[in-house]
């Protein structure tokens, strides 16, 4: 029967139960130093040659929280989330390479600063300083010169005057330490991407500079730099994407496709470019053809005569305005302009008139656009075409002087009449052939650039993808505000999932399933009867029976406080000797550990990294919680008392036998 089962089960948890509930906490204080994100101490020194992270202290709680091996705590973050956000081995290796370079650069910066401030000390060591020493020489003397061993330059980085460079060093070492952990601490990806981004920007600038030089050596260097830029982006994409559970490449592809650069958009885009290119080629070629006619016209010694002859007999505009007449008509401009400029102006105007004139003349006999330029291309002079009336058949014929032989291709298959040095172009097939031929030729010219357009499309798409990736990385990781918001979001999600999973697997019964009798029993055991674990005022303190209960009480007690301690711990000063009385009272009265006398506390403090560790722990409530939890989990008083209770072995007296 359910009720019986409930009553017969002991309502106080055994040690095993408690461990199952709360999971093991790290035993004791850490003996080895292990750098974590939150605790890099600026005062630590690092050997430049070792490449090791500075040894820094960390609280037991921090170790507990950030250690990847402690999978019992923050389960969802250390198993599913952590697995999904794990940085690949290859990237870690590459990042370590980058960070090692950065670290060297920082030490170099320190060395140069140190050298400037300690020139006299260097000279005093008998080192001859050359005139204009290079930075490399200075760094060598300060950091690596055997003669410099006794100067203690590296230790000086802890001095106040090198704070800035030391902070840079520490920041890099924090990242290196984070990367070395089995599970990368949650803060590291954000800090890492920010750090790498600076290098990325720098590399991009260097790449632009190399590209702008254009020489062969720079081109080779640019190729190498481009690979580094690509790799950096790839690494940041990986870290940022994994952290946000997002495939940044996919996001970028979608965005780029939305902007009209999806894989399916290529043909349309390239066709458009080729068409545009065709129009450009046509424009260039047509201008060239007109200019060729103009030069021919201007270099014709008979042009004056020709103009006179033609004047009034088909030419309805003046192809070239006589300079004198032009000067008269543009008297105002001439006064304002220098002589040479005015002549240029005259030539431009003449050309403009010629250009418009020949087109107009050709249009007068029905030759225009592609046909006009096609004829020019074939070396005809369509502007000299004439309409002749065939009186016999009462039909108009368009003829142009056959000054140049048209190409065979145009004439083949066409019934063109060549008569008396004139070509009859009345035949529409001929005109259509000329028009289409011109079009085709321009199209072929433009098609030659198709692969250029395709390459241009590929490049543009790639540029847009990179831009979108950069944008997304920045959105997810690259500002303090977003880093904090995204961190909160990830934890919120992890906590919600944790609860959902719990509800789905453990809260399957409906409240209506409970019988009244069963509910009565539940209330008897878990109903509100008295303050949990608190000592009654003036009464004897009740020792909570199991570590599980004690830990639960501490967690609840601390969780109630926001940013300050209350009740029995409100007098905490942060110095063990001053706090020992308060602490002892808290253990005895609040936590019910009556054995934790001041004397007991003094006796065990060194097992918990001593007074210094206690001082550090008091800096935040979280750390202090960790400090308490560690001690409570260990229950050192039990060991002490057990030791005291152990009967002393009496040495047996051996009777001497004779």
């Amino acid at each position: 029967m359910k009720t019986e089962a409930l009553i017969t089960e002991d309502t106080e948890l055994s040690d095993a139960d408690a461990r199952a509930v709360l999971g093991p906490l790290p035993a004791g204080a850490p003996k080895t130093s292990e750098a974590v994100v939150t605790s890099a101490e600026p005062g630590e020194s690092v050997e430049i040659t070792s490449g090791e992270a500075p040894e820094t202290e960390t609280s037991a709680m921090e170790r507990h929280l950030f250690s990847g091996s402690e999978k019992e705590v923050g389960k969802s973050m250390t198993e599913e989330h952590v697995e999904a956000t794990k940085i690949s081995e290859k990237s870690i290796n590459d990042i370590e390479g980058f960070l090692a370079e950065d670290s060297q650069a920082v030490y170099r910066e320190f060395a140069l600063q140190w050298f400037e401030k300690n020139k006299d000390a260097v000279a005093a060591e008998g080192i001859v300083i050359p005139p204009n020493p290079t930075d490399k020489w200075k760094a060598h003397i300060v950091l690596a010169s055997p003669e410099n061993q006794g100067m203690g330059a590296i230790a000086d980085i802890n001095n106040e005057e090198y704070q800035e460079v030391r902070e840079k060093r520490d920041a890099i070492e924090i990242l290196r330490a984070g990367l070395k952990k089995e599970v990368t601490p949650q803060a590291v990806p954000f800090l890492l991407v920010k750090h790498l981004w600076t290098r990325y920007e720098q590399y991009k600038k260097e790449l632009d500079e190399l590209d702008s030089r254009g020489d062969e050596v720079s081109r080779v260097l640019a190729d190498g730099k481009e690979k580094e830029v690509d790799r950096l982006l790839e690494i940041m994409e990986e870290i940022s994407g994994k952290g946000a559970h997002e495939n940044i490449a996919e996001t970028a592809n979608i965005k780029v496709a939305e902007s009209g650069f999806g894989p399916g958009d290529k043909k349309g885009w390239v066709d458009g470019k080729v068409e545009k290119r065709q129009a450009e080629i046509e424009e260039e070629r047509r201008e060239e053809l007109i200019k060729r006619e103009w030069e021919r016209f201007r270099s014709d010694p008979k042009r004056e005569k020709k103009m006179k002859m033609q004047d009034g007999s088909g030419w309805d505009i003046t192809l070239e305005v006589p300079f004198e007449d032009f000067c008269k008509s543009r008297a105002d401009e001439r006064r304002k302009m220098p002589e040479e400029a005015f002549e240029n102006y005259y030539n431009q105007e003449s050309y403009r008139l010629f250009r418009g004139g020949i087109k107009q003349l050709a249009e007068g006999v029905g030759i225009k656009d592609e046909a006009f330029y096609g004829l020019l291309e074939l070396a005809y002079k369509p502007y000299e075409a004439k309409v002749k009336r065939n009186w016999l058949f009462r039909k108009n014929k368009v003829v142009i002087p056959r000054n140049f032989i048209p190409s065979k291709e145009v004439l083949i298959g066409e019934n063109n009449i060549i008569e008396n040095g004139k070509v009859d172009i009345s035949n529409s097939k001929f005109i259509a052939g000329v028009r289409d031929g011109h079009n085709e030729k321009m199209k072929k010219e433009a098609e030659k650039d198709r692969h250029v357009c395709e390459a241009s499309w590929n490049k543009e798409r790639e540029r847009r993808i990179i831009e979108e990736k950069e944008k997304r990385i920045a959105e997810l990781t690259l500002s303090l505000e977003t880093a904090v918001i995204n961190t909160k979001e990830r934890y919120k999600q992890a906590k919600a999932e944790m609860l959902e999973e719990f509800v789905a697997s453990h809260m399957t019964k409906e409240p209506s399933d409970a019988t009244p009798e069963w509910q009565v029993e539940i209330n008897k055991i878990f109903g509100n009867r008295q303050e949990s674990g608190k000592a009654k005022k003036g009464g004897k303190s009740e020792t909570i029976k199991t570590p599980g209960e004690i830990l639960g009480a501490i967690i609840v007690d601390f969780a109630k406080k926001e940013n300050h301690l209350e009740g029995g711990l409100s007098d905490i000063k942060g110095e063990f000797d001053e706090d020992v009385k308060t602490l002892s009272e808290y253990f005895i009265r609040t936590l019910g550990v009556k054995e934790m006398t001041q004397s007991m506390l003094r006796g065990i403090i060194n097992d918990y990294e001593g007074k210094q560790k206690y001082r550090e722990s008091c800096k935040t409530i979280d750390r202090l919680t960790g400090w308490f939890l560690t001690i409570m989990e260990d229950a050192p008083w039990e060991k002490k008392l057990k030791k005291l209770r152990e009967p002393k072995r009496k040495s047996k007296k051996v009777k001497k036998t004779k």
């Binding site: 921090e62 890492l192 019964k509 949990s532 019910g592």
Partner: protein, 71 residues
């Protein structure tokens, strides 16, 4: 005998300090009085994990803020 830390009062106090979303908070408080010991043990475990995650979250955010200008 000391009252179990799995009591309604203890657990509901704990739930209220965890800043869960209002729906989840309400759901847990409503169901809490009907939970048996085994369920309470599981609940305590998940609440403890969430509590630890809250602490971890605060530490991570602190770490990001403290080191942001330095990296």
């Amino acid at each position: 005998m000391a009252e179990s830390f799995l009591s309604n009062k203890n657990l509901s106090g704990f739930i209220n300090t965890l800043k869960l979303n209002p729906e989840q908070n309400k759901f847990l408080l409503e169901r809490l009085p009907t939970l048996d010991k085994k369920e309470r043990v599981s609940l305590m475990k998940v609440l403890k994990d969430i509590f630890i995650l809250n602490m971890e979250e605060a530490e991570v955010i602190d770490s990001i803020k403290n080191n942001w200008g330095k990296v």
